[in-house]
């Protein structure tokens, strides 16, 4: 089975990236092991493990939800960023943070999930439940712009320079200095959402033949839409609450994943999750290796790497755009 082999290789790559994220850079860890074992253990357990777990969970969540959203909208350009989910979650979290501060993860998560859900429901209301892809994407872009503008407004009205700085740094996306509890707070909902999204692989595959044929197979397309919207909002919202908005992984991972599944959109959810995890772990390693003297926001790294890929993608999509 070639498909199984590919999945195993991907899983191995993910484990390797996870191990690298725990162990690299090696020298401080090695030095600590020689000097003080408990300190080395603390470095691993309290600094590197939450960071690696967050990168893996957030990346996997973005990959899986990107694959599901692209399958649902039958469009390789759809992703949590382009449908307004991420920016809605960011707005929800920023508003909550101003009210309650950045140290209340549950409230922040609820705010982010609420914002993501609000953005997705507004999207469905604007574009209608059976909207054309173009309408959905345009509505998504409009919602992204609106949520972005409102977030900027919230920043401009920041109660204090410290609140402004906190929110600004968080918005750029960061995995640094999160506790193990915070990591679990993002990873657990992400894992649940990914597992539930995997169940939808078959109906999503049948959407390749169009909504009508999927319905004739007995798949309830309306329910499928609601499930994907809610699971994406739940999982991405929880991750955004802890790490801020991170773009492009949800766009890029499913595109690579479908190359492994012969184009099947639903079957791509699992490999997209694995690739998303690898991508964000790798981006985080770039953050650590960058010789800038200070920590680069990981959202900036994914955007700098992802945006050129997006442009390449647009240029190479003639088979769809030229229809």
């Amino acid at each position: 089975m070639r498909a199984v082999t590919r999945l195993l290789l991907l899983a191995l790559a993910m484990l390797a990236a996870f191990a690298a994220s725990l162990l690299l850079p090696l020298p401080p860890l090695a030095a600590l092991l020689g000097a003080d074992r408990s300190l080395a253990f603390a470095l691993l357990w309290e600094l590197r493990l939450p960071r690696a777990a967050l990168a893996l969970a957030y990346g996997a969540m973005l990959g899986a939800s990107g694959a599901a959203i692209q399958g649902l909208f039958a469009n390789p350009l759809a992703s949590p960023d382009l449908t307004g989910t991420t920016s809605g979650a960011a707005l929800g979290a920023v508003v909550t943070a101003y009210l309650l501060g950045f140290s209340a993860p549950l409230a922040l998560a609820l705010g982010a999930v609420g914002g993501a859900l609000g953005a997705l429901l507004l999207l469905l209301a604007l574009a209608g439940p059976r909207a054309e892809t173009a309408t959905l994407l345009l509505a998504g872009l409009a919602i992204s712009a609106l949520a972005g503008a409102l977030t900027t407004l919230a920043l401009a009205l920041a109660p204090s320079p410290f609140a402004f700085y906190d929110a600004y740094e968080w918005l750029m996306g960061s995995l640094v200095d999160r506790s193990l509890e915070q990591a679990a707070f993002a990873a657990a909902p992400a894992l649940v959402a990914i597992l539930l999204l995997l169940r939808l692989a078959r109906p999503l595959d049948s959407l390749t033949l169009g909504e009508e044929v999927a319905q004739s197979f007995g798949h309830d397309v309306r329910r499928l839409r609601v499930e994907i919207v809610c699971l994406t909002a739940f999982g991405v919202g929880a991750c955004v609450a802890i790490c801020g908005a991170i773009g492009f992984v949800g766009l890029v991972a499913p595109i690579f994943a479908r190359r492994l599944t012969g184009g099947h959109p639903g079957r791509a959810i699992l490999p997209a999750a694995l690739i998303g995890g690898v991508l964000l772990l790798a981006a985080d390693l770039v953050v650590r290796a960058a010789p800038l003297g200070r920590t680069l926001p990981i959202g900036v790294v994914t955007a700098l790497l992802g945006a050129p890929f997006f442009l390449w993608l647009v240029a190479h999509m003639r088979w769809r755009l030229g229809r």
Binding site: L207, L209, G210, S216, W319
Partner: protein, 242 residues
């Protein structure tokens, strides 16, 4: 023996008035009617697409009561659109909803075996039509619901497809097929069903139907010396949407 297809009160708001439709034993029924008359809507209501009213039983079973794997043995639907959302290979596409052996067989029946690994977005519209038809035939369902299957096919493949549908009927499958070529429909069908303004207005044996004033009136055409020509007087029906 149970009735192959029994539909009672099936309707789609604004497109299809409540309609009864039945097929006792395997046969090839062709749906004919002007653009927008409701052929596609009737197929949708039979395939349970778009949340139609009424009840459909195929071999006594309600399609809604079955999981997707069993439902594809009961009915299969070919849409008029030849659009495919993702660039799968021809064989992968035919395998959606059918087993590997069935897919191979359906590909062979439509002479597609050599295209198995070609991506569907790189095929012509007519070639893609054949792949989609193979997809609909592959699970060997009790009831085939095909919307304009001969559109985009060259003359040879139009005839081959109709022959293939006759074979399917001989093997115990029923087929309801919407089409515009009245002569081709009459040549192969057991029964013609005429649809106008979202309702079945006449049905019967093909030859009798072709000669009927009702059919000629609905289409606004008449048969003169074996050829179809526009009726000299304007057609009776208004332009009701469907």
């Amino acid at each position: 023996m149970t009735t192959l297809l029994k539909a009672e009160g099936i309707a789609l708001a604004g497109r299809l008035h409540p309609t009864d439709f039945a097929m006792e034993a395997p046969e090839l029924t062709c749906l004919v009617g002007p653009n927008g008359s409701g052929k596609t809507s009737l197929l949708h209501a039979l395939a349970r697409i778009g949340w139609p009213a009424g009840e459909v039983r195929i071999d006594g079973l309600r399609p809604e009561s079955l999981p997707p794997a069993r439902r594809s043995r009961l009915l299969s639907y070919l849409p008029a659109s030849r659009d495919i959302a993702w660039p799968l290979t021809a064989l992968d596409l035919v395998r959606l909803g059918a087993g590997a052996d069935e897919a191979d067989e359906a590909m062979a029946a439509l002479d597609l075996t050599s295209w198995a690994d070609r991506r569907v977005d790189r095929l012509s519209t007519g070639e893609r039509s054949r792949v989609l038809i193979a997809r609909a035939l592959a699970p060997r369902p009790r009831l085939l619901l095909l919307d304009e299957p001969v559109a985009n096919l060259d003359p040879l493949w139009q005839l081959r497809l109709m022959e293939r549908l006759r074979e399917a009927v001989a093997q115990g499958q029923g087929a309801v097929v919407a089409m515009h070529d009245l002569d081709l429909a009459a040549r192969y069908a057991d029964r013609l069903v005429l649809i106008d303004a979202g309702a079945i207005v006449a049905e019967g044996a093909p030859e009798a139907m072709l000669g009927s004033e009702r059919l000629q009136g609905v289409f606004g055409i008449e048969r003169v010396e074996g050829e179809w020509r526009p009726l000299s007087s304007p057609p009776r029906r208004g332009g009701e949407a469907g």
